[in-house]
């Protein structure tokens, strides 16, 4: 009993000293709790469905950020990885009767292969040229799908895919927990030594080479990682929707992910994820005013981009937190002295 109390007190101390000191950390904790507790507030099938899709697109947006926000390899055809992951998982499930636990990861591996395919032109092309080239890839795959309708379902897509889990709540839990895990992994990657090299490649690729780092390898790695996570999102989508069509490769999906990421703040991982959780459910839940929602959406996004070019959530974070000029630790904006080195924050 005493031992439990001891650990409980220790946990409380950690929460007080490490979490409650920074609004961004509190926000992350609240976000995790919200995700995990949502089904206990509501068992409305529609709301659960919206939030399940939100989780899938959050993984997708974070994977774009990993590649484009961090490594600077502009990909305007990111739906390629999503669609390839979704179609591969669906085909393996339908034709080979593979269970979701196999079809989704295997589909993601096919998306990695797609990542390599796009990565190779990216070794030579930069900026706008790369962006235009990447746009072509999903269109090519759509062309292939229409060419072999017997195998791929053509325009109608593939239906009758196996359910991910028996109930909506279970499906929600599988996907939402995966989302939390995958996004944490992506954030960890960007925070690692590899992440530093990704960042540096975006800043100045020649200088990275001149520092002895094989940029070809790291760029391909970024494409593969991004393809893998986006492919997982696609596979989850296939088994959740139980139907996959050419819309998973659509240009609008590719643009959507760019808008989400820039809206939330590129090169942060948390920004795109938060943006999806803000924009996607709002847009869905406003389906009553169907006629206006796209235009309202466009105006909101434009306003954010004009007034907060670094993204909404990074802007918010800058407002409530500031860096100590001496030790670079982040502090709540209303503190007068740094919480670690007690330097003045005026």
């Amino acid at each position: 009993m005493k031992l439990i109390l001891f650990y409980l007190r220790k946990l409380l101390a950690v929460v007080r000293n490490e979490v409650l000191v920074l609004p961004s950390r509190v926000a992350v904790i609240i976000f995790f709790l919200f995700i995990l507790l949502l089904p206990s507030f509501t068992d409305d099938v529609y709301i659960l469905r919206v939030f399940t899709l939100t989780c899938i697109f959050a993984i997708f947006a974070a994977s774009w950020d990993l590649l484009c926000g961090f490594t600077g390899q502009l990909n305007f055809g990111h739906a390629l990885f999503f669609g390839v992951g979704a179609y591969s998982a669906a085909l393996m499930n339908i034709h080979w009767q593979l269970a979701p636990w196999f079809s989704i990861p295997l589909g993601a591996l096919v998306a990695v292969a797609a990542g390599l395919t796009v990565g190779i032109p990216a070794l030579r092309l930069k900026g706008t040229y790369l962006a235009l080239t990447t746009m072509a890839f999903p269109i090519i795959v759509i062309g292939l799908i229409f060419t072999f309708p017997g195998f791929t379902g053509g325009e109608l897509g593939i239906s009758g895919i196996q359910k991910l889990a028996p109930t909506r709540i279970e499906e929600y839990y599988v996907i939402s927990i995966l989302m939390l895990v995958l996004c944490t992994i992506m954030w960890k990657i960007t925070d690692s030594n590899t992440g530093i090299i990704f960042h540096a490649i975006r800043e100045d690729e020649i200088a990275v080479r001149a520092s002895g780092v094989n940029t070809t390898r790291y760029k391909l790695l970024a494409f593969c990682l991004s393809g893998f996570f986006a492919g997982l999102a696609g596979g989850l989508y296939a088994h959740f929707m139980r139907i996959v069509g050419p819309s998973t490769l659509d240009v609008s999906l590719s643009f959507q992910v760019v808008i989400w990421s820039i809206f939330g703040g590129a090169a942060t991982i948390y920004g795109p994820v938060a943006a999806v959780f803000f924009l996607y459910p709002t847009l869905e839940l406003f389906h009553l005013i169907q006629d206006y929602r796209t235009i309202v959406f466009a105006i909101v996004v434009l306003l954010v981009l004009i007034f907060m070019p670094d993204g909404l959530f990074r802007w918010l974070r800058e407002k409530v937190e500031e860096e100590c000029p001496r030790c670079k630790v982040r502090n709540v904006a209303w503190r007068k002295t740094c919480r670690v080195c007690t330097a003045s924050l005026e």
């Binding site: 030594n193 530093i196 090299i197 960042h199 540096a200 800043e203 100045d204 020649i206 200088a207 990275v208 080479r209 001149a210 520092s211 002895g212 780092v213 094989n214 940029t215 030790c327 670079k328």
Partner: protein, 255 residues
């Protein structure tokens, strides 16, 4: 000794009609510090870029420690032990200064040689300390002055633990006092005893510099380039008296 440390033969590079480097041929020994001088636009930077693979030569060869370098990737050349700084500094502006150097510490060569240091950060910090900008390690590189960017270039280059270090105007933008410090650090680096190489000598160097006064203090040998061609090669004393060199400089309006 069967082969020399560095052997450059017939290296040539044309930009359109302009021959930036014309049939450059020289060799150097492991213990040397060479000063590479010449009027503006003589092709000094181009020569260094050809050696480190940032530019591909039209013809010629660069043999470094017994291996051909011409045509190889820059990162392969750096991992063989030849690294260069950029004259027009190229920092990763939105990364902290320490992360700028950590990139170089993460190259295979540095990783292999840095086993005795526990952390990449600690090693990057060492390099920054050497260059004299360790107190700003956590700031973004975008805040650095021109002179400090020069030092960051040097820190990043030595973090790859080179055998041959090519410095392109390391004193540019530094005040006389700072230049003095930097010159001393470079000499100290050459003697060895820092940078993961406690038991071996420091790197050989080729230094491009317009501040001849300081260069003459460090370099044991000077190569003079004019219009892409090597016009003189000798000890500092010989070079100062060489009439062709004096004319090349005076012809440009003096220096």
């Amino acid at each position: 000794m069967s082969q020399s440390f560095l052997e450059v033969k017939g290296l040539t590079k044309k930009f359109g009609g302009l021959t930036a480097v014309n049939d450059a041929t020289f060799s150097m020994e492991r213990h040397q510090i060479i000063g590479l001088i010449g009027p503006n636009g003589a092709g000094k930077t181009t020569l260094l870029r050809l050696m480190t693979g940032i530019l591909k030569p039209d013809s010629g060869s660069v043999r470094f420690m017994g291996q051909e370098m011409a045509g190889k990737n820059t990162w392969d050349i750096v991992n063989k032990g030849m690294v260069s700084t950029f004259q027009n500094m190229r920092p990763f502006r939105r990364l902290p200064i320490i992360a700028n150097v950590m990139v170089a510490c993460l190259c295979p060569r540095a990783l292999k040689r840095g086993e005795w240091v526990k952390k990449i950060e600690a090693k990057a910090m060492d390099a920054l300390e050497f260059a004299g900008i360790s107190d700003m390690a956590k700031e973004n590189a975008s805040i650095l002055s021109q002179g400090d960017l020069k030092r960051l270039e040097v820190a990043r280059a030595i973090a790859t633990e080179p055998e041959l270090l090519l410095l392109d105007e390391p004193f540019g933008g530094l005040s006389p006092a700072e230049t003095d410090l930097m010159a001393k650090s470079i000499k100290r680096l050459h003697k060895g005893g820092r940078f993961g190489r406690l038991h071996s000598e420091g790197p050989a160097m080729i230094i491009v510099e317009h501040k001849l006064h300081w260069l003459m203090m460090i370099a044991t040998r000077i190569i003079v380039l004019s219009f892409g061609t090597i016009i003189a090669d000798g000890t500092p004393d010989e070079i100062i008296k060489n009439p062709t060199v004096i004319e090349a400089y005076l012809g440009q309006g003096g220096n």
